[in-house]
Structures are given as C-alpha cells and as structure tokens.
Amino acid sequence: MGTKQAVVVGLAMLVVAATAKAGPPAGGTISGKVTYEGTPAKMKPIDMSKEPSCAKMYTTPPLAETVVTGAGNTLENVVVYISAGAPDDAVPSTAAVFTQKGCRYIPHVLAFQVNQEIKIQNEDQTSHNIHPLPKINREWNKSQPPGTPAISEKYDKAEIFPVKCNVHPWMHGNFAVLKNSHYAVTGDGGAFSLPNLPPGKYTVTAWHESYGDQTQEVTISGSESKTITFVFKAKPY
C-alpha cells in the first residue's frame, strides 16, 4: 500500500520535473463563478452561550455556514476541482492549516491534496475536539486542549467529508482531500480559477456541502482560458 503510493508519488514528481524542464507550461486556465437559483435556507444565528469564552468574541452571534451566499446569488464554500483528466500531482511540502477560532472552523471548507500534511490548531481558550467523519479514510477523534501543539495529520485517499467538534455541536467543517493541485474553494463573490492546466480534456467538478456536486467537461488547447459557471438549485429548507 504505502510503497505503491510512494511509486505513484514518485512518478508524479517525474511528470512535474519533465514539464518543468519543458520551460513555462503552456498554462491554460479554467475560471468562472458558482451561483444558485431559488431561495436558499435562511442561516440561523449560532447560540454559543454554553461557551462564554467564544460567545464574547462576537458582538452579534455568527450565522451557520452551511450555505453562504454573496451578492448576485453567488455561492461560497464550493470546492471546484479537476476530477478527471489531470494526472495525480506531487504532494506539496507546505501544510494546509485548519484553525479553530471563536468556536468556528477557519476555513469552513479546507481543500488539500492526498498525503499532504494538515495542521490543526486551537486558538481558543477552551478545549476543542476534532472528529473528521470520513467513509474510506481512517477515522480518528482527538481532543486539543488550549495551548497544546498543533495536530498534524494526513489522508491517503481522495474523499470529501465533514469534520465536527464533539464538544461544540455547532462546529462543523469539511475536508476535501483531492488528487491533484488544480482546485479552488469559492470565496466572496463565488469566483474560482484553475490556472496552469496543460492542454487536455478535463472533467471539472463543483461540490457544495448541502447542494451536492455538478460536473462539466472542458477541453483546453494551448494556453487558452475558458470560463464556466456552475448553478446550484437552492432549497428553502
């Protein structure tokens, strides 16, 4: 198992090296935005009264983050990634950081690559518990008292799954473990951009935690950049 991965990773590295030698890649780009139609559910304010140390960090109670919308019906926290057509990439040396602050997860959706290190840190004065709920990856459940070192973990299979804090029921986030480096998480304005795509035929997938996922086929030739839009169907409840 482990060795197999090593081989895969090794190959991936070679590919990268090769492209690198071939000079600046003829990088095509897929960009666009994610929107919704219909009326999304109204996000309720989170009642943190049971955790005063967090509650006092907000003047008005923060809203739940399952559906975050922007101006012009744009949708945030959507993971847009290449689900097919791109080779597995080398594992980045930098760690993806997942922060617990004010009894919320920052970012709400954390996207990173297979076997990439993730660092989970607790900036609150209270003890948190991190309990990711993967289906195919190894499940673990650890607590992190304030002032303890960051938890470092890895996932060896591509999967998108929720993360929860057993101590604070309202704390829910998502981990998106992806095969390659071509991904983006939509922020304010629902925009995304996947640069440096070598020519080829790609399947682009957009995933949202409560609206599910959509895919589009995109072909990139040369260094052209294509614009696509994902439109999700919003439900009032």
Binding site: M43, P45, S49, K50, N166, V167, H168, P169
Partner: protein, 266 residues
Amino acid sequence: MGKLLAIVLVLIAVLSAYPIVAHMFVLPEDISTHGHAIDDQLHETMLEAGLSFVGAQIVLAVFVWGFADRKKGSQLKNFPGGAKVAVIAAFVLVGTEVLALGVLGQEAWAEVYFTPAKPNAIQVQVQAEQFAYYFRYAGPDGKFGAIHPDKIDEGNQNYFGLDPANEVEARDDIVSGELVVPVNREVQLLMHAKDVGHSFYVRELRLQQDFVPGLDLSVHFTATKTGKYEIVCTQLCGLGHYNMKAYLNVMSEEDYEKWLKEQAAQ
C-alpha cells in the same frame, strides 16, 4: 499514643463540624416552589447526622483516652447493661430517625414526582446531546414538529431533526440554546436524549433528573425569581461532560413574551 489519638479525634470532630456550623458552605439560593421542602429536610438531616458524627467521635475519643495503655493488671470493667443497651439504643435512636426521615420526609419528592403539571404549564422540550442542551418551544401554533433522527443536521442548526419542508408544525418551532421561562409560571420540561444518558441539574431549582435515551420523561417546576442560572449535566456522557451546560433565564412575563416574538422573527 492513646491520649494523642483521643485529642486528634476530638480535633477532627470539631474541625469537621466547623465549616457547617460557621455556614462556610451555604446552599445556593432556592428559587423554586418545592425547594424549601428539600432544604428543610437537608438541614434536619444535617443536624441529626452531625450530632451522631460528633457524638460518636467524641465517645470514641473519651474511651480511648480513658482505657488506652492503662498500667498492667488494671481492673477490666464491662459496659453497664452490655450489648442490650447498645442494641436498644441503636433501634430507638436510629429507628426513630429512619422513620422521621424516611417516611415523613418525602414531601419534596411527592411535590416533584407525584403531582402532575398543571394544564396551563408552559411546555418546553429539552434535548440533551453530546455536549449541549437545546430547548424547543412549540411556537404560535402551539404544536411541536415531530422528531426525525435521520434529519438531524447540526451544522445546519437542525438539532432536533425537524422536517420543516414537509411538516407545517415544525416551521414555527423555536429552538434556543438557553432555557427562557417566565417567573412564577409553572414550566413542564419534556426531556429527550439524542444520543446517550445525560442529566438536567439546576442547583437553585433544587431539580435534578436524568435523561434516559429511548424514554422521554418530564419534570415540572416553577421559578420564583428572575435571573440567569446554570444548567449542568450530572450524568457522565462522554469527553465533553465537564463542559456540557446551558443557562436558565428566568424573565418577567412581558420580557418573556418579547423574547418569544424575537425568536419567532428569526
């Protein structure tokens, strides 16, 4: 050495009794209608138990002082009356105590458990879960939406597993992380456990009741004083047990109505 033990025993008796006598640890103020009965019962018991404790320690001390390390060949005596006295004393003293405490002293229990909630009592459903309480008010229609465990979605604030899409009753249900009640109105708590066993404990209410999964119990109380009080879990329920709490917010009638409106607005 015997004399020393006697002195230490007396010291222990006195020092143990002191914090009680000096009221260093007073019960939190009672804000319930039934609490006084519990408090009276507790103080009466404290008196009896305290006396028997101090008494026994001192008798032990006196006898040890008197009869430890006597010089060789000193005369043995038998306790006047022998075992009979001891047995009779035990039966009379403790027996009456048992009767007094056990039989006569259950009014508080009766008030909490044997008298049903009045029909005009406000019904609030409380759900205990790892590791928080959530409170549900029926809303304008006065009906609770049904609970669908498979619909529970905490990230989306749907703690009870309501189904507003298909059930009208559920749409106006008010869910809060804080138990808000009007003062001097009887409140009936419908207790529901989402995952494991928990408990509902408010010191000032003199009220404690376990949540039993699969068994929806109910308790009722009347708060007599406005203010914020702590609700804590007293049944070991997992790693966050120590941090499982919520607040009981006793308001004036009108504040309560105002609060309901605000919640309904959201």
